[in-house]
Symmetry: C2
Amino acid sequence: VAAARRSLIVVSNRGPVGYARDEDGSRVARRGGGGLVTALRSLVAHHDVTWIASAITDEDRVVAAEAGGAVEEAVRDGSPCRLRLVPHDPAAYDRFYNVIANPTIWFLQHYLWDLVRNPNVDPALLHAWDDGYVPVNRAFAGAVLEELAERPDATVFFHDYHLYLAPRLVRDARPEAVLAHFVHIPWPDAELWHVLPEEMRRAVHEGLLANDVVGFHTERWARNFRRSAEDLLGEGALGRTHVTAHPISVDAAEFAHLAETEAVLQRERELVARRPERIVLRVDRTDPSKNVVRGFLAFELYLEAHPEAHGGVVMLALLDPSRQDIPEYAEYLAAIEREVRRVNARFETDGWTPIDLRVEDDFAASVAAYKQFDVLLVNAVFDGLNLVAKEAPLVNERGGVLVLSENAGAHEELAEWVVSINPFDLGGQADAIHRALAMAEGERERRLEAIRERVRSHDLEWWIGVQLSDFDAAAARRRAAATAG
Amino acid sequence: VAAARRSLIVVSNRGPVGYARDEDGSRVARRGGGGLVTALRSLVAHHDVTWIASAITDEDRVVAAEAGGAVEEAVRDGSPCRLRLVPHDPAAYDRFYNVIANPTIWFLQHYLWDLVRNPNVDPALLHAWDDGYVPVNRAFAGAVLEELAERPDATVFFHDYHLYLAPRLVRDARPEAVLAHFVHIPWPDAELWHVLPEEMRRAVHEGLLANDVVGFHTERWARNFRRSAEDLLGEGALGRTHVTAHPISVDAAEFAHLAETEAVLQRERELVARRPERIVLRVDRTDPSKNVVRGFLAFELYLEAHPEAHGGVVMLALLDPSRQDIPEYAEYLAAIEREVRRVNARFETDGWTPIDLRVEDDFAASVAAYKQFDVLLVNAVFDGLNLVAKEAPLVNERGGVLVLSENAGAHEELAEWVVSINPFDLGGQADAIHRALAMAEGERERRLEAIRERVRSHDLEWWIGVQLSDFDAAAARRRAAATAG
């Protein structure tokens, strides 16, 4: 479906290309393949995209200074893309990223704060807001306005929790612009926003409501946003903003291809050579929201209740170490390692270690495990969507069963084909692992195929399509309003 | 206003009278003066009340066994009252009270769980539900049904989070009964209820919705309940249940009297003899929801910013040790004592200790301090209402200023006359203490008088009156429905 070529300004903290110097001092462009870059690949391929992102490395800042604006670049798959890197004061960026965005906002939106003790909105946090989150958002807004001056018809597409303030600043200067924002993480209810002082929580909501469209992965997060906006800003706060819910997805063909690459096949051979009878897999970052520790406690309960599984079932945990410079994350990884040692010490025998923990960033190994799992455990406390729940079934070759947290966004789409769990319910998770392993093969295959069918028919292309439709509708509303005015 | 005499069945975990054996082996009745007994005093005085409560002591169980039903008793002020004590298996009662009601439900409804780590819905918690909370509620429902058999026209008035399941059990057997329930603690939003497995969270909501009336202290908690009921049980879940909001109150005359009793005057003389120039008072149980530690951190920030206050301003913390057999509570008291030592060590001088911490249950000392404070700090994380915020201004004699958490239920009534604070915002609390101490005398008096006027015109008598109106309206709806049917 060749849609009309559009002009788009994508705005996200992390961009598709970053720069470094190699050993001989020459500039190297690093083309990332992170989630958002992958998600927007077809957008970049088929439209005129200017991507605005933070200058993060020293070399990024050199590039930004040389260019004074955007540079012509190419994203990973070769599609051309104008790239504009926004330089920030490094100390301000550190406060923006490591104090406000992560962990304050991330923790808040995932219900991870231990409110008896944290957070303390103290002078350091206020400083991080005033001299970190605010100026970084202001710099982004300034860059968007400069780009909009050159491309007044471009739609601006903001991403995520780093940029809640920027849309309002753009809107104030460009009342007629079409602005959209996609929030990739859960939206909690209004009560949780009371963790931030009134000025901050209002600024977050007013910032988002400067957009024509605010998108979420699920109706649940969208509903929470509508409510918190009205509770905090008053009835009618939504104004002309459309709040939509379209779950992001994956590229099914890419995963089919990936699964046959030599890197993955090599990892798969290694895994098959040592594989136990049944594999209960989890693939996550070591983020507290992923609920890794409770997964081990649940597996321990499963092993307690099912001695017949000893020796034959292994929980394979492939964990990408995440944000280890934030104390809560370092402590959580320590807790993960502690629980694994404890459970293994309790149950292991000659030749069988119940939990196989791998803390490393090895995507090929993850895809190999996607092919080989019997049960995939996704038990997040809260999760905006959870892509693993969509990726892994696509390539699985063993009739693998998805055990999925009711608080993961993907649950809204996949509920009828998964074994649902409550992430706090250890016994429920243990039972779910057992039911999944005990499920008849025909039923396993039927469910797996249904998940694949859903993911294939609602893939990234579909997701980009509905985003563009939302933008078109917003533009049409603006035109109608202008004509009526 | 002498309303018609009614027949009422009050149901609460703790009753107005309990029994013990004294040294010579004879039975002693202990007439409590706790919050609910005080609140319902005029109900007992003017109506035919049967009060159903748990048999808690051994002697309570003896009384229950002897009576086989209700006994004729008198509450503290001498009003007659039929008392029915419900015996429970002590182990079941322990699970009901110390595992489910406190801390699980209490923590959940006050947002106190550190969800990364707690709670774990493990076999012990499920056992405490199935063999604790459920049978205790069933026993209460059985007692209500027996009393209703004798008084079919009585209105049943359930109280609080101990009894969420009982109304449904009563309703199933008595479709025509008028049932009301008052929830004295905050109601969190639907997302938080996902901490409990579906079966439990549904049971809580279905139990409450078996009532004709469910009452809360504030519109905010009532709104959260309407939403969580619809989110968890589906649209239309509220059915014929009316969800109302009427903040409970105090007996103004009683406090005027109390303030002049010899016990209070003695405490007041002691306080005045050692009083600093200005007193910042807090009076709380040592419950994590009360946010005592952050109060000290805020006071520390205040002292940092205001060296002129050193030597003259003291934070007087009168803390009633609470639920010390629950680990979270014991740990919280330890944290309180640790912070006091730290802040005092940092600032104290000869003759001035900035924080005066008293961990004891001494109501006369509290009332004496109510008279003498310059600033009253109520900074709860979340609080259903907070009676201290209503009691203390009534008897204060120094133009004391109320600094009040926006998350305390009383804030909905008193906001315009208090200095509002966000309980997580330490700098905001420090500023609020400063602003309150610096406020001009006329302004202080004007606000204090406005709070008193509000409390006096919306006192306990008023609260009982609106409850009875709600019961009447519910009874009228039932009659109309019966006639229509």
